[in-house]
Amino acid sequence: MEFFKDANIDFLGKKWYFLAFSLIFSVAGVLSMLFWHGIPLGVDFRGGTLVYVKFSKAPDTNAIRAQLDRAGLKDFRIQQYGPAANDEVLVALDVRKTSEQALDQGKAQIIKALETNVPQGKVDLNNASSLTISNYLLEKDPLRAGTEANQRYAAITQAIVGYRDKTRGGVLSSLDELKSVTDPAVVASLNDGFYLSEFGVRNVEIVGPQVGKQLRNQALWAILYSLLGMLVYLWFRFEWIYGLAAVVTVFHDTLITVGAFSLANKEISLTVIAAILTLVGYSNNDTIVIFDRIRENIKLMRREKLADIVNRSINQTLSRTILTAGLTFLTVLALYLFGGEVLHGFSFALVIGILIGTYSSIAIAAPILVAYQEWRAGRGKRPIAMPVDTGKRVEKVKAKA
């Protein structure tokens, strides 16, 4: 089975279509960033309080909103988190409510507001820590464990907490469910001291304003150094124009990816930045493969026009380019579809990035090379895209002979 055997597509000829395509998406992205959704920054960069809550049955966001209102919380956001079947909700507080004086105050307020109908003197088992449960069991001693009490109750607590968290996703609906992991006597005893609320807190992220600023700076430096590193490496391995073409390509890819986040209103977190840097590496790889082939062909086809050489190189590597893109895309798609909610932003960036990165090596990097050479030729200068060392070696041989 073989795709693209003997392909001979005139890629450079289509460069205006490519340019138009890229322009449309870039401009759409930029417009969205400036005027529509802006650049949606995640809590890592903006600061704030995020509490992820899972409910035992489908949550009623309006009712929750009313509860939080009643508790006096203002300026909060509630949204469904993940697929509806998860029954998960995200409550977000602005960074202004998240000061370093009392960093977790917002979280405490949210949890308190969600606890309705608290029976007198009972603790919520869905949000109790292992220590609370084991201390309680040690005190009540339902199994009359005697000297072994510490170990037995520690093991029972672990079983209960493990069942609640790993099997039931953090929320129990009824204490009877615990009968499958421990003694009915223990369950009866728990019934006296604990009740079950409708929710369990799955995840909490609280980022103060200072850290938010630090992370923003770190992300920017990382991107800058990455681009610099690339430019230097390519300059060293090829000619400087190759390096420049690659950097412009990568910039184009990043712009369109961030634009996609803006258009889809998805948040950019630290892991998304990691994904973007990875796709920068990937796009670069792609570009290098084509550049390597161009360089090889320049040595072989010295008499032909650069445009023809480049076209031929792209066609020769087309099979490999599409295959790699396809295979990597397959794996990244698996991540996007099956990898869970936490990695969603990350995998979205990679899905877009792989497609755009592959496209840009052909549609942006190669035409830049040719355009530059034609511009130099137009001004009567020697074409620089030809590697200088080839010329030198030939000169030396001629001189000796």
Partner: protein, 535 residues
């Protein structure tokens, strides 16, 4: 040729076994569950997969500077008094942002020489400069300030580590965070009750013993009026005490400086007071004991207050000199006394801490994340394996073997190095599969091209590998450089990603080039002359 091949095959099998050991160790039992527990023992899971608490603390280093400069101020006042030099005022004009800056006003010009010599003598770590209108400004020497600040952070890390150790958290991470920002990173896997941990870490547990001039009063005004002359003496300040049972806040008038601080503490244990109620009994160090003895001898008949975290806990009369032990009593519960002793024992926090970031991953989320991550990895891997078989036929088997070996080496690397596997790390594994197979594609495409140009299978394989090699190196190096930058600038989960990506690509260099080549050579050696290569 065959001999070389045998050695190479042996090397590959040895590598396989070596890295399998890295993943599993030697499992206790070979069932499914046994193997899974063997893996989780060897491979270190990050917080986002295990559940736990992640905190970033800011050490308020200015506090540490204040302690030193407050003491310096007292020494200066005493020295000036002894030398009978008059002054109008000695104070810190801006203690919040310049905790080391002391301004002296109203020293008569003829005493400036004496002032200078006192400063050189008693305040060696400070610089004295003259200011406008007959004032003098004392600031701490910059190196000293920097070293005090760094010391504060190091000591805070030690203290926090002690406290966390006593809590019995397994594999906590406590280390300096960031560059020069005096921040500490604390990661506590498996801790599902961050509130209690924060309480234990937070309390500066500053134990001080100060002279008490008056109290308890019901309000600040009452306290001030209760003093001779209706105002606070120069060396006294107001301090809160405990609340009365009906919630009333009490106030005391205490000395500005302490006779004994937490640094002089050697031990603290739960004990009992005279009435058998829970109390904390403490012992002082030799040096601390000496200081305390001097102080108490000079103040027999006065009142002493035990101050914990800036609150007066209890007051007692000094009947005679005390050397080195005492009791902190108050309405404590057993648990409070236990916690309090532990906090005191683990050393005093040299400065206050503030929380900058808090993340708590519930274990349910951690378990779900592992499930989703592994599921996505398996699906991705199977999709790639099948595709390679279909597209490249016989050579597809070659690629698949290389890919599986790649995965084993990568996981083995993780097991051996003790690097942390995070959720983005699992994504890195998935990405390695996709990018790793690229090397195989490069080589196979080249081989196909050479075969099309009429080369023999052996020659095509040779050409394929040698042409593709340089491109493979290029692409791997650039991605590893990206990963390196991510490692430097990234936080925990992102670092996990950088690590698996790097290990995976390094492993790929071995499997896609060496192992694939060996497999091809082995296949070729078994073919008859002229037989086609399945690719």
């Amino acid at each position: 040729m065959t001999k070389n091949l045998t050695w190479k095959l042996v090397l590959i099998v040895a590598t396989l076994l070596f890295f399998l050991f890295g993943i599993f160790g030697v499992p206790n039992n070979w069932s499914g569950k046994g193997l899974i527990s063997a893996i989780t023992d060897r491979i270190h899971l990050g917080l986002d997969l295990r559940g736990g608490t992640h905190l970033i603390l800011q050490v308020k280093v200015n506090d540490a500077i204040s302690v030193d400069s407050d003491a310096a101020m007292e020494r200066l006042k005493e020295a000036l008094r002894t030398a009978k030099i008059n002054y109008a005022d000695i104070s810190k004009p801006d203690p919040a942002s310049n905790p080391d800056r002391i301004v002296i006003k109203g020293v008569p010009p003829e005493s400036s020489g004496d002032l200078r010599s006192i400063a050189t003598d008693r305040l060696a770590e400070y610089d004295l400069a003259s200011g406008p209108e007959n004032t003098w400004v004392i600031t701490m020497k910059p190196q000293l300030m920097a070293s005090l600040k760094n010391q504060a952070v190091t000591q805070a890390i030690e203290t926090i580590r002690n406290r966390i150790d006593q809590l019995g958290v397994s594999e906590p991470v406590i280390q300096e965070h960031g560059l020069g920002q005096y921040q500490i990173l604390v990661q506590l896997p498996g801790v599902d009750d961050p509130a209690r941990v924060k309480e234990i870490m937070q309390s500066t547990a500053m134990l001080e013993i100060r002279q008490v001039f008056g109290g308890p009063y019901n309000s600040e005004q009452e306290a001030i009026q209760g003093q001779p002359g209706g105002s606070l003496p120069m060396d006294a300040m107001l301090m809160q005490g405990k609340r009365t049972p009906d919630g009333q806040q009490t106030w005391y008038v205490v000395a500005r400086t302490s006779a004994v601080t937490g640094r002089d503490l050697r031990d603290a244990r739960p004990g009992q007071d005279r009435n058998g109620m829970p109390a904390v009994s403490f012992n002082l160090t030799g040096e601390g004991g000496r200081k305390f003895y001097t102080f108490t001898s000079a103040h027999v008949g006065d009142n002493l207050g035990v101050v914990l975290d800036g609150r007066v806990q209890s007051v007692a009369r000094i009947n005679d000199a005390i050397r080195d032990s005492g009791i902190i009593e108050g309405r404590f519960t057993e648990q409070e006394v236990k916690d309090q002793s532990m906090v005191l024992r683990s050393g005093a926090l040299p400065a206050g801490i503030a929380y900058l970031e808090e993340r708590t991953v519930g274990p349910s989320l951690g378990a779900d994340s592992i499930r989703s991550g592994v599921r996505a990895a398996v699906i991705g891997m199977v999709a790639v394996l099948i595709f390679m078989l279909v597209y490249y036929r016989g050579a597809g088997i070659n690629a698949d073997v290389a890919l599986i070996l790649n995965l084993i080496i990568l996981l083995g690397f993780l097991g051996f190095s003790g690097a942390t596997l995070t959720l983005p790390g699992i994504a890195g594994v998935i990405l390695t599969i996709g990018m790793g197979v690229d090397s195989n594609v490069l080589i196979f495409e080249r081989i196909r091209e050479e075969l099309r140009n009429g080369k023999t299978p052996a020659s095509a394989v040779d050409q394929g590998f040698s042409h593709a090699w340089i491109t493979i190196v290029d692409t791997h190096v650039t991605t590893i450089v990206s990963a390196f930058i991510l490692f430097i600038f990234g936080t925990g989960p992102v670092r996990g990603f950088a690590v698996t990506l790097t290990f995976g690509l390094l492993a790929n260099l071995f499997t896609a080039v060496f192992v694939s080549r060996v497999v091809f050579d082995w296949i070729l050696s078994r073919k008859q002359r002229g037989e086609a290569l399945s690719i």
